[in-house]
Structures are given as structure tokens and as C-alpha cells.
Symmetry: C2
Subunit: 289 residues, 2 copies
Amino acid sequence: MDDIKLIENELYSYIPDNETLEKNLIDSMAYSLKAGGKRIRPRLVLEFYRLIGDNEAVALPFGCALEMIHTYSLIHDDLPCMDDDDMRRGKPSNHKVFGEDIALLAGDALQSLAFEIMTSPAAVKLAGAEAACKCVNILASYCGALGMVGGQVIDLENESKSAPLEVIREMDIKKTGGLIKAACEMGCALGKASEEQMKAATLFGENIGISFQIMDDILDVTSSAETLGKPIGSDIDNDKTNYVSLLGIDRCRELVDELTDEALKALDVFDADTSALKKMALELSKREK
Amino acid sequence: MDDIKLIENELYSYIPDNETLEKNLIDSMAYSLKAGGKRIRPRLVLEFYRLIGDNEAVALPFGCALEMIHTYSLIHDDLPCMDDDDMRRGKPSNHKVFGEDIALLAGDALQSLAFEIMTSPAAVKLAGAEAACKCVNILASYCGALGMVGGQVIDLENESKSAPLEVIREMDIKKTGGLIKAACEMGCALGKASEEQMKAATLFGENIGISFQIMDDILDVTSSAETLGKPIGSDIDNDKTNYVSLLGIDRCRELVDELTDEALKALDVFDADTSALKKMALELSKREK
């Protein structure tokens, strides 16, 4: 079974039974969890765990928890008071189907569910209580006020064109990089990694995180230029400052390669076969959507 | 130092430094955390812990985590897509001061912060990793889809006058009782309570939780009748069904006393002095706001 299937099987097993008074809420949570995606974050948890540990069942609940946090953030991001997006992954966004109130609450409940899963008796038995606590702490801090949510606030306030590169970098490290770093570190924590290995995972995650965001910014420009039949690069004049508007597409493509190289180099401290992680990093740097 | 002061000192110590790019977010979190209240939930964590344990520093971070979850739920509850309340505890509600986007994100970040605090190295060292995991699991499940958030969904969908008492009871147990039960159980888990003690804590929490909500419903009617100069009970014709609209004020007052008696009886399994908990339960049943 491939990893995406493995992850999705486990992920869907955590959706509560909807034969309750909260049917609508649970259907709303399931709708967004089942909306697809590349499942990058849980795959990173699995791959980092595999560098050190030998029972991937240990890592699966934690990968699924991370995907729940990611899913909650997408639901809240699409709400009218945030990005006000009607569509997500080719389907109506959560609040367009279930209403704003249920979408808000589905996001809230997905965040709780993430922490519930990581500390279930089954997950704690597999991972050990110390490692489970460590993972909760890693994920909670990377998704909170000084992590993902903080990055969203920097993004909201980045309405002017004048934000300097350092601000954009901090925003990307927090908003996009937060959960990616959390994934790498959680995989390591579950495998009881050394301090040196943990640092390497952080470095890998940080570089992949920024690179991932820059690729998103590039794809935003190239795909909208394609749609509109304009020459690529002619409409990098977005509402907000980002790497592409500051540095241009060509320099950004170079940067993605440089960051990916940095990430790959960080893996040298692991004795294990890192080829799956390397393949994943390269695929992300060459993706077309 | 009284318990409220003790709790607030610790609570405020967890607010991140606001000298960051996310200043607005952190100020918004602090605004609602500092808005006062009776701090009932953290006080219950402390009191249950004290029945068994002897170092209250163990219980404080967990009580504060619970207060953060309670605070996030109030912020999200007041949003325009939910109850659309402009005021909370005599002050403008969070989104009236900081805007809907920041209020939404402050709620999200407070939820994360709760789980971060319970698994900080300091909290885990004091409580032990097993107990910390147990508390995260208790709190996450009582605040999630089948707990507090589930209760809010039942409330949202309770627009008709026809909801039967069983539905109202389930809504109150989940929406209001969820965090109160969590408080009692977390205090016990931290003190390494026996199974019998844990069951007693759940029973105490459930009875106090329903009683607390019925008191709220009674106060809603009596205070609005007072304001309008009408005879008490003449305007129990609220938008939504609740205990008061179904059973009348007099029966509800009796019910509060019965539930409080049940709660107090549950405490008999503890060898320790339960007078502080009894006093708290009685105060809640006689409160006037």
C-alpha cells in the first residue's frame, strides 16, 4: 500500500461516527479531511520516523494529527473574514457547503481532535508518554501564536507593498514552514532521535518550508498568466508582497533549488537510507501545482 | 494569596511577549484572557488536585490551559457568524476591538497554547508524562466534536421550540458541562486518583455542569425581567428551548438544588477535606450573576 493510502485509511478512521446530534459538524469535518491533497505533512512524519524507528504504526496517529491541524487551518483560512475563498481544491469551500458557523466549529473541533489522537491510550502505548508529550508540544507551538497562526497574522497585515524580505521570510517560515518543521521534528521525536538529528530535521523542514512557499508564489503567477494568456511574469503585480514580487521569477526558481540543496545536505547526519526523503524534496521543488 | 490571584498570575505568565510582528494577535489573546470571570474551571482543577496531591504547582499549568480553552470558546462564540455579541463581561467583545480576522485567529492560537502549556518541559516534569498525556486527552475530548463544540452545534440547531428535554440535557452536558467535567477529571488525573475517585469527579462535574447551565437560564430570565420591570417569569418566551422554558423557573430552582446535592454526595468517596469544593458548589447554585 502506498503511503498516501496508508495515511488516508488511518486519517478517516478518526472521524467520529455521525449518527449523533452533531451530524452536520462531523460531516463538515469529514468533507474537508477527505478533500484530497498530497498529504505532505504526514508523509514527512512517516519518512523521518523511518530513518530511526522500525514500526511505522507509531508514527501514523501523529501524522494524521498534523493533517487535521493543516485541514483546520485551510477551513478557517477560507472563511469570509479571512481570505473569503469560495473554492478549495476544485470543490466549494467548507463554509459554502455547511455555513460559516459550522465551518468555524469544524475547524475548532479538528484542532482538538489532533491533540486527542496524539494522546489516545493507543497512541501513547505505541509512542511512549514522553514522546507523545514532546510531539504535542512541538505541534502546538508550531501551529500557535508564534507559529502558523502568527504567520497568518503577518500575512493579514502585509497589505502594503513595502514589506521587506525579512518580514516575508518570517511570514513564510511561520505560516507555511511551521507545520512542515513540526512534521520533521515529530518524526524524529517519535524515533527518539539524537539532538544532532533533531537539529538536522529542523533545518531540512525550514528549507523545504520556505522553498514550498516560494514554489506556491511562482505557481500563482505562472498559472494565472497561463489562464489569462499573458506572458509569464507580466502579472506578478499581486496585492501583497512575496518572494516573487520582490525578487522576480528567475531568481525565485534558483532560490528553490538552493533551498532544496540545503535541505538535502542536512540529511547527511542520518546513517539510514534517505533516498525517499530526497525524492520527496525534489518532487516538491519541481511540482507544477 | 487567594486562588483567583494565584491562577491569574500563572495565566498571564503564559501570554507571549508582544514585541513581535504578531503584536496585534497577542494583544487580542491577552485582552480576553484578562477580561476577568470567576475562573471556575481552573479552581476546580486545583480543588480536585488538592484532595489527593500535595504540590499545587503541578495543577496550575493545567488549570490555566483549561481557562485558555474556555476563553477561546467565548471569543469564537461572540463572532458575527455565531451569537454575534458586541459585549462580553461589560466590555466590547474581542472582534469589536481587534476585528473578526484577528479574533478568529486569537481563538485558534489560545487553543494551541492550552496544549502547548500542558506539555511544556516544566509541566511534564511536575506532573509526569503519563499524567500530562491523560490531561491533554481529557481536555481535547471534552472540548471537541463530541464535547463542547458538539454542544454548540446542538445549540445552533436548536432553533425550534420543539427540542425535547433529552436534547437540551445533552446540549448542556456537552456545551457547559464538558469543560467542567474536564476540570474535575484533570485534577484527579494529576493527583493519580483511583478509578472510583475519577468516577466521582465525573459525576460531580456532570451535576455541577447541568446545574450551572440551568442557573444561567434562570438568571437570563430573571435579570431581563428585572430590567424590563416585568414580573419574573413573564418573559421566559426565549428564542430557544431550554430548561426554564420547558419546566418553569420554580421547578428549575428545585432542580439546581437537587443536582448540587447529587454533586456533593459524589464527594463522599474522598478521604480528604472536601469543604472547599462543597462551598464552591453551593456558591455556584446560589449565584446572582
